[in-house]
């Protein structure tokens, strides 16, 4: 089955069809609260009416910062049923993150649990509109209305995922409705998820990992999302013991903690089809130790806010391919490419690129537009910036980040930090910082910038010297016409200087 088969083209219609098949089944639960499919339908309609009364409608933008609660699902669906673009924002966000998501994508409102209202008001101001609660055990919802002043990106985005990575400054990745539906098919088909399967997620539903693998399958396949707000080993093990648990969305640290708590009182987990790990490198030694102690092969899952779910290992193969992040997902093509975008032969090192209909359409800010390539028919390829190798059997191995850390005489420099400083220089419209080799073969920082007026390289360097620690100041700044060409220069410098 492919995502283009006749079928609902939007997530709300898709969910209604799914809900009709098993209205009384639980769609989403957290410790202490749950909602069945029919309850989610009713709650979504109720919330949509309340949001409509508050003046929201098609074309509005609402940043959903709810955290892991069953209310997340009807709140999301209510907004989508109205044609509202939903920003998925962490409920742990504070001033700088909330301000950054507001700048990237000015919202008409934030939708939050009431305890977050003071935080939002402090960060970005606004007017409170009480929405109420779905009942005992569910949070009180509040809309914090904003008055977006700037024009916003085109209104055909269904969701915007905010990613920070190691750079600290969130970037919004847009996905269209069609892309969301396709991604739901990709996740469900790759993992063989079925109605009633439970996916246990102690990871944020607002992040790509939790949203794509715990929420999207509920909408399409009728799975149940078991969302925990935090990783409490005994509670999570209790949830995993449920015989219908098909998948666990973990991160490496959780497996380390489980190793430490030991198996003594742990339930049998042999019915769990996928114990997954994402969001951080999963060391082969941890996989081996966990398998030895628990008899379970932890499966690496590869993806990002930009790509969605791109690749995974399956339990029967995970142990035989240590260090691999797995093979491409059913509806995704993953390839290693050279600087010109040509596919490299198996075993050759290059940049990892992932394409599919579930890949994001780009950053809402328009940054790095060159990394998202429209291949037509709704398919986008994203150049991840990850450097890796794909072997002859299709197993993907990551070797590092192209732009990760520049090592200047043993001191680490994050390119993003340099870029942030460069972008503050008056007249600079875009910047990139990258590693280069100095004549002695030592790694140093070089930068490329685009400018809107007469800004000289020496002025830019002078600004950097007063704003950055010495070792972070670029050794060289080049004014370029487009950062895309700088990107190529950077690749050739890296490969040439090694």
């Amino acid at each position: 089955m492919t995502a283009t088969d006749a079928g609902p083209a939007d997530v709300w219609t898709m969910f209604l069809a799914t809900a009709q098949r098993s209205p009384a089944a639980v769609a989403i639960e957290s410790p202490g609260a749950s909602l069945t499919f029919e309850e989610v339908v009713a709650a979504s309609r109720r919330l949509a009416a309340a949001f409509g009364d508050a003046g929201l409608g098609s074309g509005s933008v609402v940043h959903l910062a709810l955290g892991n609660t069953p209310t997340f699902l009807p709140a999301f669906l209510a907004l989508r049923s109205m044609g509202v673009t939903v920003g998925l924002v962490s409920s742990r966000s504070r001033d700088s993150e909330l301000q950054a998501v507001s700048e990237q994508m000015p919202p008409d409102a934030f939708l939050v649990a009431s305890d977050l209202v003071p935080v939002v008001l402090h960060a970005v101001g606004g007017t409170e509109v009480a929405v109420g609660s779905l009942g005992a055990g569910h949070p009180d919802l509040t809309l914090v209305r904003q008055q977006p002043s700037e024009p916003r990106p085109a209104g055909d985005l269904a969701i915007v995922k905010f990613t920070s990575g190691s750079t600290g400054r969130p970037k919004g990745v847009g996905m269209t409705e069609r892309s969301l539906v396709a991604e739901a098919h990709n996740c469900v088909a790759t993992f063989g998820l079925r109605a009633g399967d439970r996916v246990v997620a102690p990871v944020p539903l607002s992040h790509a990992y939790g949203f794509h693998l715990a929420i999207l399958p509920v909408l399409l396949a009728g799975t149940c999302a078991v969302a925990h707000a935090s990783f409490i080993p005994k509670l999570v093990l209790g949830a995993l013991a449920h015989p219908a648990t098909a998948m666990f969305l973990g991160v490496p640290s959780m497996y380390r903690v489980l190793l430490e708590t030991g198996r003594a009182d742990a339930p049998d987990l042999s019915h769990v089809r996928y114990m997954a790990s994402a969001a951080a490198p999963l060391p082969p030694s941890l996989v081996a130790r966990f398998h030895e102690a628990w008899g379970i092969a932890v499966c690496n899952v590869y993806g990002s806010s930009e790509t969605g779910f791109a690749a995974a290992n399956v339990p029967s193969e995970a142990l035989d391919h240590p260090g691999s992040v797995g093979r491409q997902a059913i509806a995704v093509q993953v390839r290693a490419i050279d600087e010109d975008g040509n596919t490299l032969p198996p075993g050759e090192e290059g940049e990892i690129a992932a394409s599919g209909r579930g890949v994001g359409s780009g950053y809402v800010s328009g940054e790095r537009a060159e990394a998202f390539i429209d291949l037509g028919d709704g398919v986008t390829e994203y150049r991840t910036g990850d450097i890796g190798v794909i072997d002859a059997d299709g197993y993907i191995f990551l070797l590092g980040r192209r732009d990760h850390v520049i090592n200047v005489g043993g001191l680490k420099v994050y390119p993003a930090e340099v870029v942030r400083a460069l972008e503050q220089v008056p007249g600079v419209t875009g910047a990139r910082a990258f590693a280069a080799k100095d004549p002695q073969g030592e790694e140093v920082v070089h930068a490329a910038v685009t400018v809107s007026g007469p800004t000289s390289e020496s002025e830019i360097l002078a600004f950097c010297r007063s704003n950055l620690a010495e070792h972070k100041v670029p050794r060289q700044v080049q004014v370029v016409d487009s950062l895309e060409s700088a990107e190529e220069t950077k690749m050739s410098k890296l490969s040439g200087g090694a």
């Binding site: 707000a229 935090s230 990783f231 409490i232 080993p233 005994k234 509670l235 991160v251 640290s253 959780m254 380390r256 903690v257 430490e260 708590t261």
Partner: protein, 90 residues
């Protein structure tokens, strides 16, 4: 065991599990989370797991759920409470 001794042992666990040398400087009433020591949620889970092992106690769920606001003193009080015969159950 005196509460002060428990706090000292807890400080050792804090150093050994997540903080390294810096653990010795943490005052008894400083919360473990971002408003104090600065531990993230998984580091907190790591710490509480170690504490349960080291003292052979089971900490109540509300402590796990609200771990970022706990301090060494809170943990010491909870450990003393669950170990005192006739005290409230954990």
């Amino acid at each position: 065991m005196e509460t002060a001794q428990v706090v000292d042992r807890l400080r050792t666990v804090l150093s050994a599990s997540v903080l390294g040398d810096r653990g010795g400087e943490v005052a008894g009433d400083v919360p473990f989370g971002h408003e104090g020591v600065g531990l993230d949620s998984l580091a907190l889970v790591h710490l509480l797991t170690r504490i349960e092992k080291e003292f052979d106690v089971e900490l109540p769920y509300d402590m796990w759920a609200d771990a970022s606001r706990l301090s060494l003193d809170d943990c010491a009080a909870a450990i003393t409470r669950v170990r005192t015969p006739g005290g409230p159950p954990g």
